[in-house]
């Protein structure tokens, strides 16, 4: 039942925000972070702990950005990212230290995306984030583990 409520909340939250907030009322990066945390919160209910740090900034269409992370074999991870602005979409993937994409599960919703996987090897990985739809905007990414 908790997932039902969360799912509805995640879907509707951006719309509610758009309706309730006056223009220029929110700092964009805070909005992006808040949206990413909302999505990560769904996984927190499944025992995933959300890291306190985040990666953020501005992202342009078709200009992917990359982040280095260091992960542990055996832990499960969810990377959750969000972009500010209705109609924008992100794609998110993870590659190994050698640049090879890893297999995992993707969750895609309006403005937000998540990628989950369990690394087989400890070490360095690369997060690839791309704005696939919409114009330049602010984004934020957080990750959670268990």
């Amino acid at each position: 039942m908790r997932f039902v409520i969360l799912a509805i909340f995640i879907t509707c939250a951006p719309l509610l925000r758009a309706q309730q907030s006056a223009p220029n009322e929110e700092v964009p990066s805070v909005t992006a972070r808040s949206q990413a945390l909302e999505l990560a919160g769904a996984f927190a209910n499944d025992g995933f702990k959300i890291r306190d740090g985040f990666w953020g900034g501005a992202i342009e269409a078709k200009k992917p950005q990359f982040l280095q992370v260091n992960l542990f074999a055996g832990n499960a991870y969810w990377f959750s990212a969000s972009v500010v602005g209705i109609g924008r979409k992100l794609s998110l993937s993870i590659a190994t230290d050698a640049g090879q994409p890893v297999q995992g599960d993707t969750f895609q919703s309006e403005q937000s995306v998540a990628f989950g996987f369990v690394p087989q090897v400890s070490g360095r990985y690369f997060v690839r984030l791309e704005l696939t739809t919409g114009e330049k905007s602010d984004f934020a990414l957080v990750y959670s583990y268990k």
Binding site: F3, V4, L6, A7, I8, I10, T11, A42, F43, D46, G47, K49, I50, R51, D52, G53, F54, W55, P64, F66, L67, Q68, V69, N70, L71, F72, A73, G74, N75, A76, W78, S93, I94, A95, D97, A98, G99, P101, V102, Q103, G104, D105, T106, F107, Q108, S109, F115, G116, F117, V118, V121, S122, G123, F126, V127, R128, L141, Y143, Y145, K146
Partner: protein, 272 residues
């Protein structure tokens, strides 16, 4: 992967999403793309809790034995205080793993006392209360998140008072203490799988980069210089035979180096 799908399935049934296994159709990254990857200290460096979660799957560490309160020392410099603050944060995670409520409270108190000496306590006083409340209620998941939040709050305060040079030292102190504890456990309970958790050369390279970016005066601090040397030594160990698991002697070498560096941090003024 079943538990990942469990979370997703619940979400996917209700909302308009694309849910699919991913990764197979993606092209590989080019070397220039990998080189352009940014590193963000609070994301690129794993938290001690993350490290401990992984080792907890490879064995059953006796966290109570691994939690050794640090004896009070005469602190020589702000650099030492920042390093020690990181060590204490890692100790907090160990106390959480040991489910030692009083240990968490004591460590939280030590963190606040040290933060006071660094003039960054104001913003984390509420965190101190939260740590106590969560410890009182044995809320271990919340404590893990609160410890990281406390550490980041201290770093934000350091930045606000133009003490940015101390921020990487907090991160390094926490990483050294976490690695010292885990490597000591693996040394005594060796398996190739648990030894592989220790092979994180990219983290050590990044920590060295952070140290090299510090102002000359900070780099000249005897402890900071010694830590940089120790990190170089550990990097050589971690890069030995990268295609096979770290050998027992490599784990022993790493444990020795890391414990030596933690002692460099916690030893009193007379040693520094």
């Amino acid at each position: 992967m079943a538990f990942l799908r469990h979370s997703l399935a619940a979400l996917a049934g209700l909302i308009f999403i694309g849910l699919a296994p991913a990764g197979l159709a993606e092209p590989g990254l080019s070397s220039s793309e990998m080189q352009s990857a940014v590193r963000v200290e609070s994301v690129t460096i794993p938290s001690p809790g993350e490290f401990f979660a992984a080792i907890g799957k490879s064995g059953q560490p006796n966290w109570t034995q691994l939690f050794l309160p640090i004896p009070p020392a005469t602190l020589a410099s702000r650099e030492q205080m920042a390093l020690l603050l990181g060590v204490l944060v890692a100790d907090g995670y160990i106390a959480v793993e040991a489910q030692d409520s009083q240990g968490v409270k004591n460590t939280g108190k030590d963190i606040i006392n040290l933060a006071k000496k660094l003039n960054v306590s104001q913003s984390i006083l509420s965190r101190s209360k939260s740590l106590n409340d969560f410890a009182e209620n044995n809320d271990w998941p919340a404590l893990r998140e609160e410890l990281e939040a406390t550490q980041n709050e201290v770093k934000i305060s350091m930045a606000e008072q133009q003490d940015e040079k101390l921020i990487p030292l907090v991160t390094i102190g926490a990483w050294l203490r976490g690695t010292a504890v885990v490597s000591e456990f693996v040394q005594k309970n060796y398996t190739p799988e648990s030894a592989e958790l220790l092979r994180q050369p990219a983290i050590v390279e990044y920590l060295i980069t952070l140290l090299d970016a510090l102002p000359e005066g900070t780099r000249a601090d005897a402890r900071v210089a010694e830590i940089r040397g120790g990190l170089e030594t550990s990097l050589k160990t971690l890069n030995t035979n990268p295609k096979v698991a770290l050998a027992p002697e490599d784990v022993q070498s790493l444990a020795s180096t890391m414990n030596g560096l933690v002692n460099v941090i916690i030893k009193g003024n007379e040693g520094g």
